[in-house]
C-alpha cells in the first residue's frame, strides 16, 4: 500500500472550532429583519374529517400576522415530494381530513413564538371522527376503512421478487429454520429538530430558504414545485445541521409551512419544530416490520436458500416509498453464500405519522432478521455460532462478488474481521467466564453478529420495483480554487450534517497536493449556485467527496503545472507539487510557491502561457463509481450499493431475571469499511451508531395506543440512551480497500446501528439460553424480558 501523508491520520476536525465555541450557524440561529415566528396546530385525532376550522379568534390576537389552514395550502403549495409512483398525496397542512394524531392542521405566524402558540390555541376545529387503523394486519384487509380515499385500499404496494433457484434450495434442504420476527418503529431524534426560515420576494418571485434539509441540490427542484416557485428562484442555503441520521433528507413539511406563511405575511418566517412536533410529525420515523423468514440449511449447516416475507407499517403517507426495502435487497443475503432468495414486501398505510429514513434505512432490520435466523440455525443444528458463520462466509478470493439479486460486493475479508473480533473479545475466555457465571446462577450472555454495511447508494433502489425506469444519477461535486494569496478553498454543495465532511475534503486535498489540511478553507454554496450533489445519505459522503476532491485537484494541478512549467521553463509533465508549491521533478530549487502561482494566475496575465484564461479554479462532479442498470425482467437488479462494508460485533451482557434489566458488560466491534480516511472520526461514527443500536435493542420505541394516540411524544417516554447505558466500545478495524473508489474508501456511517441490535439480541438470547427463551422482538425492555423469563420458568416445557 502506498505511503500516505494525510489519509488515514487523526487530523483535528476543521468543523470543531465553531461548534465548540457556540459560533456555529444552525437553522434556529438565523435572524432576519422583521422575521415572524410560526407555530402549528396539530390534530388531536388520528383519523377524522375536518368539518370546520374557525381561525377568527386567532387572527384577532394582537401580534398575529397570518393564520393558514389546509385550504390555504391547496392555494399556496403543491403536495410534498414523494419518492414513490403511487398517488399518495400529502400537503404540509391537512386538506379535508387528518390521517394521524399530530398532523398539522393550521399554522400561525406572529411577532414571536409565544404569541404564535397563543394564537394556535385559539383556533377552533370541528372534527368528525373516522375509524382509526393502527394495526397493519387489520388495515390491509379488504373492506377496511381507507386512510386515503383515492387509493384502492391501504395495502399501497405489494411485490414478490425472486432471485436464483429458491425452490431448489428449499427442496434440497436438510432443514428449514423459521422465525416470526418483529422490528419495531424507532425514531432518529437528532437533538436539533427540523426547521426552516423562508423569505419571499413578490417582486422578483424569489424564495430564500434557510433550513437543515440535507438534499439541497438533489431535491431542491422538487421542493420548488411544492412551494410554487421556479427552481431558478429558489435558494436553499446550507446550514450547520445538529444531527440528521437520515432524518433530514427533504423536510418538505417544515419548509412549506414557513414558505406559505412567508408568502402570506410578506415577512421572513421561521418555523422550528419543538420536540413534540419532531416526535409526532416529522420525517424521521423508521421502518416498522413484521417478518416471516425461512432459511434452508443443509445437514452440515450450509445455507441453501432464504425466504423473507415482510409487512411494513408505513403510517399515513408513503414519502420514501419502498426505498428502504430496495436498500435491504442490496445485502439481503448478508456476508453469506446463499444461492437464491425470495423477498415479499407488503407496504401498508395506517393512521400513524409516516415513515421517513433512519440510519440503516431498512438494512438494519434485514440484518436483524438474517442474524436471528443464523443463530437459530446454529442452535437447531447443534452447531457453534462461530462455526456456522465461517462455513457460510463468502471467501476473500471471491470478490468482487455478485449476490443473488445482482448487487455487487466490491471487496471484503469476513473471516479476518471475525477472527479479529474473537481475539479482541477473548472468545474462549468469555465462554469460561460465562460457564462460571452460570454456575453461580447468573445469566451472562455473549452475542455475535456478522453483518454487512452497504454504502454509496444508487437511485435504482427506488424504482426497480416498477416496470418503468427512474433516476440513474447520484452525483456529488466540489469546487476548488487557489486564490491569489496562495490559499486553497474547497466549496461543497451539500451541507454539514453532523460529522466531518470538511475534514475529509481537506485531508484528501492535502493528500493530493502534499499540503497541510489545516490550511484548507472549506465553504458551502446555496442551491442556486450548486453543482449536482445528492447530499448525505446511504453512507456515501466520504466516498463521494473523496472522488470529487481528487477529480477537482487533478484538474487544478493540470493548470497549475502549465503555469509553473511556463514560469520555470520546464515541461508540465515534469512539475510536481508539495507542501510549499510546485517544483521541477528532481530539481527542488527550481520551484514556485502556491502564493506566487495564485498571484500570477489571477493578476499577471502576461506571465501566463499564451491563451490561458486568468484564475485558478476547478470544479468536479463525481458520479456513482459503480452503478449498473437492472435487467428488464428484474431478475438482476444490477450493482446499486456495491461499496460493501462489514462488521463483527461481540457484546457481553448480563440479564437480571427478576427485573428483566440488561447490563452490557463489554462491547467489541470490528469494522471493515475499506481505506480509513480519519480513524478518530470513523471511531465516532461506529461508537455513535452502536449507541443508537443499543437504544433500538433496549429502549427506543415509537408507540401508539389503539386509538392512534402517540404514547411517546417526549423524551420522558421515548428513551434515548445516556452515558450510563452506553459502555465503552472496544473498536477494531480491518482495511480491505474498495477496488471501485478513489483511495479504496467505503462508507462507514451506518454500520454501528445496522449491526448492534442483531448482536444484542444474540447476547440476550444467549444469556437466557438456560431458560430456553428466544428473542424475536425488540426492544428488550425490562418488562418484555421479565415476562419472557416468567413464562419460561412457569412453563418448563418450553425449555429445550
Amino acid at each position: 500500500m502506498a505511503t500516505r501523508t494525510w489519509i488515514g491520520k487523526d487530523v483535528p476536525r476543521l468543523e470543531d472550532p465553531r461548534l465548540l465555541t457556540g459560533r456555529a450557524n444552525y437553522t434556529d440561529d438565523v435572524r432576519l429583519p422583521g422575521m415572524a415566528h410560526a407555530a402549528v396546530l396539530r390534530s388531536p385525532q388520528a383519523h377524522a374529517r375536518i368539518v370546520r376550522i374557525d381561525t377568527s379568534r386567532a387572527r384577532a390576537l394582537p401580534g398575529v400576522f397570518a393564520v393558514i389552514t389546509g385550504e390555504d395550502a391547496k392555494e399556496l403549495s403543491n403536495p410534498l415530494p414523494a419518492f414513490c409512483a403511487e398517488p399518495v398525496v400529502e400537503y404540509a397542512l391537512a386538506v379535508d381530513k387528518v390521517r394521524y394524531a399530530g398532523e398539522a392542521v393550521a399554522a400561525v405566524a406572529a411577532v414571536d413564538r409565544y404569541t404564535a402558540e397563543d394564537a394556535a390555541a385559539l383556533i377552533d376545529v370541528e372534527y368528525e371522527a373516522l375509524p382509526v387503523l393502527t394495526d397493519p394486519m387489520e388495515a390491509m384487509k379488504p373492506g377496511a376503512p381507507k386512510v386515503h380515499d383515492n387509493l384502492p385500499g391501504n395495502l399501497v404496494f405489494e411485490k414478490t421478487m425472486s432471485f436464483g433457484d429458491v425452490a431448489g434450495g428449499f427442496a434440497a434442504a436438510h432443514r428449514v429454520i423459521r422465525r416470526r420476527l418483529r422490528w419495531h418503529r424507532a425514531s432518529a431524534q437528532p437533538l436539533e429538530t427540523a426547521g426552516a426560515v423562508c423569505r419571499f420576494n413578490p417582486a422578483s418571485g424569489r424564495m430564500d430558504v434557510w433550513s437543515n434539509t440535507n438534499m439541497i441540490n438533489y431535491v431542491g427542484w422538487l421542493v420548488a414545485g411544492t412551494l410554487k416557485v421556479a427552481p431558478s428562484k429558489l435558494s436553499i442555503n446550507p446550514m450547520d445541521v445538529g444531527g440528521s441520521f437520515g432524518s433530514k433528507h427533504v423536510l418538505g413539511k417544515v419548509i412549506a409551512i414557513a414558505a406559505m406563511l412567508a408568502r402570506r405575511t410578506g415577512r421572513a418566517v421561521k418555523f422550528m419544530e419543538d420536540r413534540v412536533d419532531n416526535l409526532t410529525a416529522c420525517e424521521n420515523l423508521a421502518c416498522d416490520r413484521y417478518y416471516d423468514v425461512e432459511l434452508a440449511v443443509a445437514a452440515d449447516g450450509t445455507f441453501t436458500g432464504l425466504r423473507i416475507k415482510v409487512v411494513d407499517d408505513y403510517g399515513a403517507y408513503f414519502q420514501f416509498g419502498h426505498g428502504t426495502h430496495g436498500n435491504a435487497l442490496a445485502q439481503a443475503t448478508g456476508p453469506y453464500r446463499i444461492p437464491g432468495f425470495e423477498y415479499t414486501v407488503q407496504c401498508v398505510l395506517t393512521n400513524k405519522c409516516q415513515q421517513g429514513v433512519f440510519r440503516g434505512a431498512g438494512s438494519d432490520a434485514n440484518n436483524f432478521a438474517l442474524e436471528r435466523l443464523v443463530d437459530a440455525a446454529a442452535q437447531e443444528l447443534g452447531l457453534d455460532r462461530v462455526e456456522i458463520r465461517r462455513r457460510n462466509f463468502i471467501q476473500p478470493d471471491a470478490f468482487p462478488f455478485k449476490m443473488p439479486a445482482g448487487n455487487i460486493y466490491d471487496s471484503g475479508d469476513y473471516p479476518k474481521v471475525l477472527d479479529q473480533a474473537l481475539t479482541m473479545a477473548g472468545w474462549n475466555e468469555l465462554r469460561k467466564m460465562q460457564a462460571e457465571a452460570r454456575a453461580q446462577g447468573r445469566l451472562v450472555g455473549i452475542g455475535l453478529a456478522t453483518a454487512q454495511q452497504r454504502s454509496v447508494y444508487g437511485p435504482t433502489e427506488f424504482w426497480f420495483w416498477y416496470d418503468t425506469p427512474g433516476l440513474t444519477s447520484v452525483p456529488e461535486s466540489v469546487g476548488l480554487s487557489l486564490g491569489p494569496t496562495g490559499e486553497f478553498i474547497v466549496t461543497m454543495f451539500s451541507p454539514f450534517w453532523g460529522n466531518s465532511p470538511e475534514t475529509v475534503v481537506a485531508q484528501v486535498l492535502g493528500e493530493e497536493l502534499g499540503i497541510d489540511p489545516a490550511t484548507v478553507t472549506v465553504t458551502y454554496e446555496d442551491s442556486l449556485h450548486g453543482l449536482p450533489s445528492a447530499g448525505p445519505g446511504g453512507s456515501r459522503m466520504t466516498v463521494m467527496l473523496t472522488g470529487a476532491v481528487v477529480g477537482a485537484a487533478r484538474k487544478l494541478k493540470e493548470k497549475m503545472a502549465r503555469i509553473a512549467a511556463h514560469l520555470l521553463e520546464a515541461a508540465p509533465e515534469d512539475i510536481v507539487f508539495g507542501a510549499g508549491g510546485a517544483s521541477v521533478r528532481g530539481v527542488p530549487n527550481k520551484a514556485v510557491g502556491y502564493a506566487d502561482l495564485g498571484l500570477k494566475a489571477y493578476w499577471f496575465k502576461l506571465d501566463l502561457p499564451a491563451g490561458m484564461e486568468s484564475g485558478l479554479e476547478a470544479r468536479h462532479t463525481y458520479d456513482h463509481p459503480y452503478l449498473t442498470p437492472p435487467s428488464a425482467d428484474r431478475k438482476d437488479l444490477g450493482a446499486f450499493y456495491p461499496m460493501m462494508g462489514h462488521g463483527a460485533h461481540i457484546p457481553v451482557v448480563e440479564v437480571n431475571p427478576e427485573t428483566g434489566q440488561v447490563r452490557i458488560l463489554r462491547y467489541v466491534a470490528v469494522h471493515d469499511v475499506g481505506t480509513i480516511v480519519n480513524p478518530r472520526s470513523l471511531r465516532g461514527q461506529i461508537a455513535g451508531g452502536i449507541a443508537q443500536g443499543i437504544g433500538m435493542a433496549l429502549y427506543e420505541q415509537v408507540l401508539y395506543d389503539a386509538g392512534g394516540q402517540p404514547l411517546t411524544a417526549s423524551f420522558m417516554d421515548y428513551l434515548l440512551p445516556t452515558a450510563q447505558e452506553v459502555p465503552r466500545i472496544e473498536i477494531g478495524h480491518v482495511e480491505t480497500p474498495s477496488p471501485f473508489t478513489e483511495y479504496g474508501v467505503k462508507g462507514g456511517g451506518e454500520g454501528g446501528r445496522m449491526i448492534a441490535p442483531a448482536a444484542l439480541a444474540s447476547a440476550v438470547e444467549d444469556a437466557l439460553a438456560p431458560l430456553g427463551v428466544t428473542i424475536d422482538e425488540l426492544p428488550m425492555t425490562p418488562e418484555r424480558l421479565a415476562t419472557l423469563v416468567e413464562a419460561a420458568v412457569s412453563h418448563p416445557a418450553h425449555i429445550l
Binding site: L191, M716, V726
Partner: protein, 165 residues
C-alpha cells in the same frame, strides 16, 4: 390579552444587561433572542436533553426550565463565555483532541456540564464522569469521545478548582 413585562438585571459572561421580559419568557429564549447568544441550543424544551445547559451563579441549569425573571440578579455563563476571544478554552481543546463532539449541537451544554464536574472534582473516575454527563443527551458520539475529553481535560487541569467561586 395584555401581558406586563418585568425589568430584570442579568450579568451574562461578565456583561451586565437590563431588559424587560414577560414573566413567562424562558431564560433560554432571553439568552438566544434578547441577548443574541445563540451558542446555547434548544433540544427538547422539557428538561430532559440538557442541550440548553448554562451556568447560573456557577451551577448548571437547564435554561428551558427556568424563567428569565427567576434569573434576575444572577450571573450567567454560556458557552460564549468559555472562550470570549475565540481561542479555545483548554476544556474545548480537550474536546477537540478527543473528538468529544460530532454535530456540535449538544456540545455547549456538555462543556458546561464538564466544567462544573471538573471544578468540583479535579480527578473524576470514569464512572463519575459518566454519571455527571448522563444528565445530558448526545445522539452522535456514543459518549466515548466525551468521556475521554473530560479525562483529558482533568489530566491537564483545564478547569481550575476555584474558577467559579
Amino acid at each position: 390579552m395584555k401581558r406586563s413585562a418585568s425589568v430584570i438585571g442579568l450579568t451574562v459572561n461578565g456583561v451586565r444587561h437590563e431588559l424587560a421580559v414577560e414573566p413567562r419568557r424562558l431564560l433560554v429564549d432571553c439568552l438566544r433572542d434578547d441577548l443574541g447568544l445563540t451558542g446555547t441550543h434548544i433540544g427538547c424544551e422539557h428538561g430532559v436533553c440538557g442541550t440548553c445547559t448554562v451556568l447560573v451563579d456557577g451551577e448548571t441549569v437547564r435554561s428551558c426550565l427556568m424563567l428569565a425573571v427567576q434569573a434576575d440578579g444572577a450571573s450567567i455563563t454560556t458557552v460564549e463565555g468559555l472562550a470570549p476571544d475565540g481561542a479555545l478554552h483548554p476544556l474545548q481543546q480537550a474536546f477537540r483532541e478527543a473528538q468529544g463532539l460530532q454535530c456540535g449541537f449538544c456540545t455547549p451544554g456538555m462543556l458546561l456540564l464538564a466544567w462544573e464536574l471538573l471544578r468540583d472534582n479535579a480527578s473524576p473516575s470514569e464512572a463519575e464522569i459518566r454519571a455527571a454527563i448522563s444528565a445530558n443527551l448526545c445522539r452522535c458520539t456514543g459518549y466515548q469521545g466525551i468521556v475521554e475529553a473530560v479525562q483529558l481535560a482533568a489530566e491537564r487541569h483545564a478547569v481550575p478548582a476555584a474558577a467559579a467561586r
